[in-house]
């Protein structure tokens, strides 16, 4: 079985999908010879040529708008946004066309573009190379939002995205690109959209998280286990929209205590929706208030990002809050 990091897993997924289906094309800034700034598309231009691995002019609105037109016509474009922080120029196309095309056309057309790009912080990337902006997409109906935390899921989820019939925003925590290696199956596999993954079972409290925070949550759970003997369950959401409510509810049925951890700013981060959903439908399961441990409501800072992001101390505080209630 091949050992791969997330970049390699994504690269091999793209390669396999492009071999499987000649309609799959890649477009974006510097995706060709350069292989993308993180090398996710490295070598693909050699195998598939510049008609299927397309270096574009520098405009995210153009990339997404043109990809939408391509998908409408019948291709399966995978559009790279060099850093997801640069996607805002494309918001008009995403909100006006991409997400609403099926609806606007009474179901006669659709544009299942996969937009992928590096997201999230932790690499001293500063204000525009670190953002976690998933909320904008989650609030917008018509889009699927995914974020893998390990090579296996990255490969399996992007394949599901490419084979699916809906537009997808595929967010790749850049800090994880080369941080983790895994044995991946030789054979073709997919990871289903909409299913969370139990990272660690536990009985005292549930942490719902995703992306790189999965690993912070693991470390924090070890700390509280050793200091207090608390047994924490950790769930990696993987699909941010539509999120796996059953997985959350099942875990809460066991633990009754909920901590949500994410990098995005707190106000209207996805944690808000999860907390609201529970407060609306499953408040009886709660033995304590819900805690959110999140990025602060500020533009992503270059200086001291480790204090902006949820860190072990802050997750500890969240766990203490629900455990000591």
């Amino acid at each position: 079985m091949p050992v791969m990091n997330m970049v390699q897993a994504l690269n091999s997924a793209l390669r396999e999908e492009m071999r499987r289906d000649s309609r799959v094309v890649i477009l974006g800034e510097d995706v060709g010879r350069r292989g993308g700034v993180f090398l996710v598309t490295e070598g693909l231009i050699d195998e598939f040529g510049p008609e299927r691995v397309i270096d574009t002019p520098l405009t995210e609105a153009g990339i997404v708008g043109v990809a939408t037109g391509m998908a409408l016509y019948g291709l399966k474009p995978v559009a790279e946004i060099q850093f997801i922080d640069f996607i805002y120029e494309a918001f008009d196309q995403i909100f006006t066309n991409l997400s609403k095309l099926r609806r606007r056309t009474g179901g006669m057309y659709s544009a299942p573009v996969v937009i992928r790009g590096p997201c999230c912080g932790g690499v001293k990337g500063g204000m525009f190379h670190s953002q976690s902006n998933e909320s904008y997409f989650i609030h917008t109906s018509g889009i699927i939002v995914l974020m893998p935390s390990r090579p296996y899921d990255a490969k399996g989820l992007i394949k599901s995205a490419i084979r699916g019939e809906d537009p997808v925003i595929f967010l790749e925590p850049k800090i994880l690109y080369r941080a983790i290696k895994e044995d991946l199956p030789e054979e073709d596999y997919t990871v289903p959209i909409g299913k969370a993954r139990v990272v660690k079972e536990g009985s005292d409290a549930t942490i719902i998280t995703w992306g790189a925070m999965v690993y912070k949550a693991l470390e924090a759970s070890k700390l509280v286990e050793s200091r207090h003997g608390w047994d924490i369950e950790i769930i990696d959401l993987r699909t941010l929209h539509p999120f796996d409510k059953n997985a959350i509810v099942e875990s809460l049925e066991k633990t009754g205590r909920l901590v949500i951890v994410h990098e995005a700013p707190k106000t209207l981060g996805l944690g808000a929706e999860i907390a609201a959903y529970i407060a609306e439908n499953y408040i009886d399961l709660l033995k304590a208030p819900i805690a959110r441990v999140t990025g602060y409501d500020v533009p992503y800072p270059l200086a001291h990002e480790n204090h902006y992001l949820p860190n072990i101390a802050r997750i500890y505080m969240g766990l203490s809050k629900v455990m000591k209630y």
């Binding site: 708008g65 043109v66 037109g69 196309q93």
Partner: protein
């Protein structure tokens, strides 16, 4: 790499700038052909052009009437611009794709959409092909007409992307986008045309310059002398034409479609015309333009102009013309009556076509809707 420090001159541009600055006409404002420019087209084709314009004009008036009595939510009148819509759409083949805006009834008709399909749309009835999703936009997969988004210009990158896709797939499809002078100010125009130029996309881009974007005159929209000249920025050959001369529109569009189809890439066409009606049924143009201006341009109406030409050429007689109007007025009135009484769309359309399969939150919310319908019924409430 070519030496970037080399100098260029006008002759290095991919096309003749004078076409982007002039105003191409085939027949003059009195319907007289200009020597040497007349295309050799069959009488049938010429008559069809005329009939499409007539049908568009009659239909436009009907939708206006229906809006006034509250049966249609909003309408953007087409009056005066029929030649651009009909002439450019007719240049396309069946398999080509049209990305229109919201003011091109003649184009939908010319692509084969029926008055009934259009009116079902206007009245948002049970047969509305777009299932009540939006007003004032039209389209149908059957005719490769992609319904426009209301935010103007947003269809341009789509048309370009579809054209690039066709090229990648080695199809012979050409795509065409039609949009207003106002739309040229938007990001989508710039990014779309830039891609079209770089990838030599088989796309025809038609600016319908009707002098106004609601109350904003074309000269306030941009400082550039003509809209066509903007093609220079993308090295896209550009032509400025009299958009009230359907033969100028048709022949120019045909040339552009052929260029696209034979791999020569995009063309930008500025069709100069005039919006005789209000911007939409919600507009009051007397706030920003003079009656005299409109009266002046009424004299340049493309329909009587082409009528004169057809009569002059002996393709149609005065009485045949009269019959065309009568016949289509009667036909369309019948269609209106038929569509008028069709039932509404069911309330469940609210949840249709969001995803390929409804997500769980939508299923939950559908239950909420059902429960609320039950309650409205039970309590005798309105739906407010």
């Amino acid at each position: 790499m070519e030496n970037p420090f080399r100098e260029y001159s006008l002759s290095d541009l991919g096309f003749d700038l004078s076409r982007a600055l002039g105003l191409y006409r085939v027949i003059n404002v009195d319907g007289m052909p200009i020597t040497g420019r007349e295309p050799s087209l069959s009488s049938d084709l010429l008559l069809n052009m005329y009939i499409f314009m007539v049908r568009a004009r009659i239909l436009d008036e009907w939708i206006l009437k229906l809006q006034r009595i509250g049966k249609v939510a909003l309408h953007a009148p087409n009056k005066g611009q029929e030649a651009v819509a009909v002439g450019s759409a007719m240049a396309l083949d069946r398999d080509d794709w049209l990305f229109p805006s919201y003011r091109e009834l003649g184009a939908y008709l010319a692509r084969g959409m029926s008055e009934e399909e259009i009116l079902d749309r206007s009245m948002i009835n049970i047969d509305d092909p777009l299932r009540g999703s939006e007003f004032a936009i039209y389209g149908h997969r059957r005719y490769n007409i992609i319904p426009a988004p209301v935010p103007v210009g947003s269809q341009i990158p789509l048309a370009v992307g579809a054209a690039i896709a066709a090229k990648i797939l080695k199809h012979k499809t050409v795509t065409m986008a039609i949009f207003g002078d106002g739309a040229t100010s938007r990001a989508d125009f710039h990014v779309g045309l830039n891609f079209a130029g770089v990838f030599k996309a088989p796309v025809v881009l038609v600016i319908q310059n009707n002098q106004w974007a609601i109350s904003t005159p074309a000269i306030r929209q941009t400082a550039s002398r003509t809209f066509a000249i903007k093609g220079v920025a993308y090295n896209i050959p550009s032509v400025r034409i009299d958009g009230n001369d359907i033969l100028a529109v048709y022949t120019t569009a045909l040339e552009a479609v052929e260029r696209a189809r034979t791999g020569e890439g995009p063309t930008l066409i500025e069709a100069v015309t005039y919006r005789l009606g209000p911007h939409t049924t919600a507009d009051d143009p007397t706030r920003y333009r003079y009656k005299e201006e409109v009266e002046f341009f009424e004299k340049l109406d493309p329909i009587p102009r082409f009528r004169k030409y057809l009569i002059l050429k002996g393709i149609m007689t005065e009485s045949e013309d009269k019959r065309i109007w009568e016949e289509w007025s009667a036909k369309i009135e019948d269609i209106v009556k038929n569509c008028y009484n069709k039932p509404q769309l069911p309330v469940e359309v609210i949840f249709e076509n969001v995803y390929s399969k409804p997500t769980w939150n939508l299923l939950e919310q559908q239950e909420e809707l059902k429960e609320s319908l039950r309650l409205i019924n039970e309590l005798g409430l309105g739906a407010e």
